[in-house]
Symmetry: C2
Subunit: 325 residues, 2 copies
Amino acid sequence: MSTIKDVAKKAGVGVGTVSRVINYSGAVSSTTRQRVEQIIEEMNFVPSQLARNFNRSKNFLVGLIVPDIAHPFFGEFIRHAENELYQRGYKALVCNTIQQSDREQVFLDMLRYREVDGIITGSHSLDIEAYLAVKAPLAALDRRLGAEIPVVHADHVKGGRLAAERLLRSGCKHIAQFTGDSLVTLPAYDRHTAFAEALNGTGVSLTSIPNQWNRFDFSYHLEQVKQTLDEYREIDGIFGVDLIACAALKAASQRGIAVPDQLKIVGYDGTCISAFTPKTITTVVQPIADLAAAAVSAVIDRIEKRPIGQNEITLDVYLREGETT
Amino acid sequence: MSTIKDVAKKAGVGVGTVSRVINYSGAVSSTTRQRVEQIIEEMNFVPSQLARNFNRSKNFLVGLIVPDIAHPFFGEFIRHAENELYQRGYKALVCNTIQQSDREQVFLDMLRYREVDGIITGSHSLDIEAYLAVKAPLAALDRRLGAEIPVVHADHVKGGRLAAERLLRSGCKHIAQFTGDSLVTLPAYDRHTAFAEALNGTGVSLTSIPNQWNRFDFSYHLEQVKQTLDEYREIDGIFGVDLIACAALKAASQRGIAVPDQLKIVGYDGTCISAFTPKTITTVVQPIADLAAAAVSAVIDRIEKRPIGQNEITLDVYLREGETT
DNA sequence: GTGAAAGCGCTAACAG
DNA sequence: CTGTTAGCGCTTTCAC
């Protein structure tokens, strides 16, 4: 593995010159440049990124913390985030927490150890304090971690309202919604509050089923929907994340309930799975690519110490009509 | 940001001692150790991973190259690979190639630049030569890149046979299979050859439709299945990856074809989506977690220069019965 | 047991 | 324009 020194010696120049050549920094006469480039070629020299990172004390690496990469929402988020990072010269380190907060802590530590230059987190298992202790470039997806830390999220208030309006328009009278853990103040929870509010005074009954919506365990959701359908026979409308909507479609099929005739379903997220089912699911679409781009911009602005704009970014959602309403 | 030198000075010891303390290497008297640890605590000192990586010339980073993270098969693969890497003290860098071979080249270059210690690739857009040029720790998923490069894959021959036998057992007479690009010698292609062989001499007709199976574009697959069903009215059995099986289920539903009565479907991969549909898809399950573990072991063995075993690892598959056969 | 010193490979400041 | 030199922060001999 040849080094910059070897190249310099063989080319009969100083290491500074070689550095200038490979970095296109400073001025080098074209004859020198040519000679050096040729030697580099000959020796098959490749500058060590390790050394470069070291003395610029930067990795061009951003950690992406998510509960589960295989979950469609996070999978799509990471796909877009990775792409966006790549466009800007950064690489993506993925971190699955899979409901283990200790792993989340480890990844957060990578920031202190300067293994990554910044972090985007979509996981929520850790206490907020752990995040606040980190005064490094950080951005959160759908969680307010403190005034200092940028958060990007979809307009969940509008999302919840759109879903409710859609079910009302279809004439539903007994609606069930599968909510997240209300103990945590997630922007994402707003959709359920907004959903309930939109139903208020319409005479429509609402049953809220607590559900761990970002858990990627289909049988868990399926079981929950089945229980709900069995317990509340009158239900004619269901609202939940795409995975739950998908489970609802399956449960209805197994119970012989016709969709959308007897039961209407509205999903949330707008992930690819809403199209995989025989009946395309009507769903509230989150702008996943834009969320990813916004989160990436937020961290990179902080890494590169650019003037920063607002700390809370809310992006628009819309309802995509399917065949379940 | 305090450095090891600051700590040494404040503790009144040499930097070597501090280094021994934080690495638990060499011997340090317990009094010294205590004093140093206290100072470290006080100063809130954290060793720079950047510097450490630099002088060990190692990153503990493995690149994971896949066509599309959001594709269920690759999403699950990455999830397991990341986990496995984490257990062994490595981190995962993800690289979406999304059908762009130039990006694949860039990621491969990271190996030469020593940005990653090794690479696991599940992408196949690049010419084999580009891989062969890299004589660094590398492992491939489902592709033979050369005798030197380890490859892990499922037992696709058995997989193809299982699928064929299942459809035969259901009494199918006119079967269609959606194959990959036969130009490339992928182990994964064996399933289609085996599938065809198993049908040989049974009097059952087989139509093979060329399909880009690892393309993550549902509407593309859906369109293809629809065309096939329209063109070959007599088809009563379909074999393809889970995504295609899913599309087939949808196409059948839209065409008013009853599954499994009029049409049987067998998927391949065993990804989570096979359970998402109202009728669970009968599918050949690849041991994704084991494939990931094997690939990770292969790269790490090479990174850590351990004696290596065989270069081609074939893992068992099985048929998971669903409701589409 | 512990301190001093020599790098790891590169960048950047500083003389020429 | 270009060579020299001083680090970047840590690990690792090598004496003491």
